[in-house]
Assembly symmetry: C2
Homo-oligomer: 403 residues x 2
């Protein structure tokens, strides 16, 4: 069902980063479900986590470890999210770190744990920890593809992106993998993304860099407006390659490439959204402020009526108009507003465009990729997000998920 | 598909109020689609309208007329919402008022127009105005049942409520009708409710009375979080009966009965919500503030994942927990929180209740009426709303609506 989801591209190895993946039988036998990512000494790590107040045990532990130490390794399991599991869940997350730390010869608080899967049930700690030596034994710098498969839950395909840029005479690599799908399936808890680069970047700059890239990519996607208990995005800089300094031209080049990787990963999540039949870009332009533009974009993206109309390929512009009208923004002049679907103008001056025909609307709605462009004609700000339609399959998948 | 929607009860006539309904063939022939409600001289009228910035032409006209004069009549059509129709739409709404005013011998701005139906297309003004004499000719104080049918769009049944109370030695009647479904089908634009009483109430008190009752009823329902371009709720007090004074015991009795009528009508809209298979009450108690409680209640009610779980009768408490966790509230202590489904405790102290069993959860989820009770253990405030599940039929109805 994925919408134009590209096949997994070549994932360039990142010097200083090794990955190992195994089938530990955590929830189902014979399925890659446990990933270890090892960072060379001297790496720096930045991460952003879910803002959900019910964050999962691994999020709590990872946040605490990250605040205390520079991580040496990440451990990621699927099958169980370890969320809503109380104190025993916290102990399980810490025990996982302990076992991996023993294997790698580092401290337990130099390990960050991540989990994704069913909420509210504890994972089988014995099976998980028994799998760790196997994952460690296959650590390799070409382990990205297996890892991309090892973090999948209900994703229909593995997702990754990789870019190489020139910084002076050196080649810098940025490689990342992700799984769906954040706001798409919070109880399959989770959007996870793991990105690594061999660039040498100071911790503060790395944090800033990730925050900016995540904000313009992972924080700009929505399938159903739900956010999960386990969402996390991690960026590791191993420091084996070129140095990136704040304010430099190199930083600009690096940031652009990082954003490209993040955006490709984020869009892959949407393309593989549950039941998705359309990939929709919502572009709100010429607004009074970026936050107003984003509010309008999200109100459109979250409207079940807009989403079902797109599923039906129905150019039901009244639903888009009604969504814009109820968005919680300060300034809106309905008489100035225009709306395009790709290059077809459907609303001009707040009413149906005189040159609009149902035939043109129907033609554009049949496409798999559609941009809704809302022009507010108020100012210079803009906001862009990506979303999907709402299909029968979304309901089926989410109604049947646990059975 | 409606969930325990009661049959239309006896709708007591209200002295001073007459209704006439006809089949004007506005969109489809042979269907009651035009209603006139006439108020006796001396009536007072209060109304609340949609907050959507793209409000429909009749809403703009009704607001303006109400601000200028005390209305003598309402005119309501189905088939077309007269929204997104620009200046011609405003002219159509005013022309409708003009024609009815001529029939009744009043001023055009003493008439309030209401429309519901498809957005973005003008209605056939000639057919609508041609129907007005027929509606006027059958004006009667027992016209409530026909009117309840005449304002229906995709509702599966007519909806009404009626109460009689004693004020001193007099009987005061409150009778109302409504149609779905506000936040349910904004592009079939509209929740409309028309309520009348024979009580004698001053304009300011009537306004206050309606605002309070609507806030605790029509503003507490949600099916998909969308609000429409045409929503309106009108309360007419004909003044033929007992006087109701501010601060009196009578006012308290009256207000209670009005709230009961409004709540019955609002719940009827939810029970007849698109594709509804469950009637869900979300009760958030012991919060720090009412607004926090309502934010949490709405976040639960709008979560597609919670809604699909209810459709599947799946006691997926992790989804409810995740929704609570991402609600935009100031204060939340996840370790104090408990959640019940009817009398089954599913979460206690922020984690799965130790005495919870899937069998008990499954049993309660099979019921058609379920209360989700979230106890925040933080304060004394509370908030209650009503909503439905999200079913295959919701998607089918909204994907196929225009075709």
């Amino acid at each position: 069902m994925a919408v134009n989801l590209p096949a997994l591209p070549e994932l360039h190895p990142v010097a200083g980063i090794r990955l190992g993946t195994t089938a530990a039988g955590i929830r189902k036998p014979g399925r890659l479900d446990l990933v270890v990512l090892e960072c060379a000494t001297g790496s720096n790590v930045a991460a952003v986590f879910t803002k959900n107040k019910f964050c999962a045990a691994p999020v709590i532990v990872a946040r605490a470890h990250l605040a205390r130490r520079t991580p040496r390794a990440l451990v990621i399991n699927t099958g169980f999210a370890n969320a809503g599991t109380g104190k025993p869940g916290l102990a399980d997350a810490r025990a996982t770190c302990q076992v991996l730390a023993e294997q790698l010869g580092c401290r337990p608080d130099e390990v960050l744990p991540f989990s994704t899967g069913v909420i509210g049930e504890r994972f089988p700690l014995d099976r998980l920890t028994a799998g760790i030596p196997a994952a460690v034994s296959c650590l390799s710098d070409v382990g990205w593809v297996d890892a991309a498969h090892g973090i999948m839950t209900t994703d229909t395909a593995a997702k990754g992106a990789s870019r190489q840029i020139r910084i002076g005479k050196e080649t810098v690599t940025i490689t990342g993998i992700t799984k769906g799908a954040g706001m798409i399936r919070p109880d399959m808890a989770t959007m996870l993304a793991f990105i690594a680069t061999d660039a040498r970047i100071a911790p503060a700059l790395l944090k800033k860099s990730l925050a900016a890239a995540a904000d313009a990519s992972f924080n700009r996607i929505s399938v159903d407006g739900d956010s999960s208990t386990n969402d996390a995005c991690v960026l590791v800089a191993s420091g084996k390659g070129a140095a990136i300094k704040a304010g430099s031209k190199s930083y600009k080049i690096f940031q652009e490439a990082l954003l490209e990787v993040c955006r490709t990963l984020a869009q892959a999540i949407v393309r593989d959204g549950e039941g998705a039949t359309k990939f929709i870009t919502v572009d709100v332009v010429r607004g009074a402020s970026e936050s107003d533009c984003l509010e309008i974009a999200y109100t459109i993206a979250h409207s079940p009526l807009v989403k079902t109309a797109f599923f039906a390929s129905d150019p039901n512009w009244g639903r888009i108009l009604a969504a814009v009208g109820r968005a919680p923004v300060r300034k809106l002049d309905v008489h100035k507003l225009s709306i395009h679907l790709n290059d077809v103008c459907i609303v001009r001056g707040g009413a149906l465009a005189p040159d609009y025909t149902e035939a043109r609307g129907a033609a554009v709605m049949r496409e798999a990729e559609i941009t809704i462009r809302v022009d507010l004609a108020l100012g210079k700000a803009a906001g862009r997000i990506w979303t999907t339609d709402l299909s029968h399959d979304y309901v089926r998948i989410n109604a049947e998920y646990r059975s």
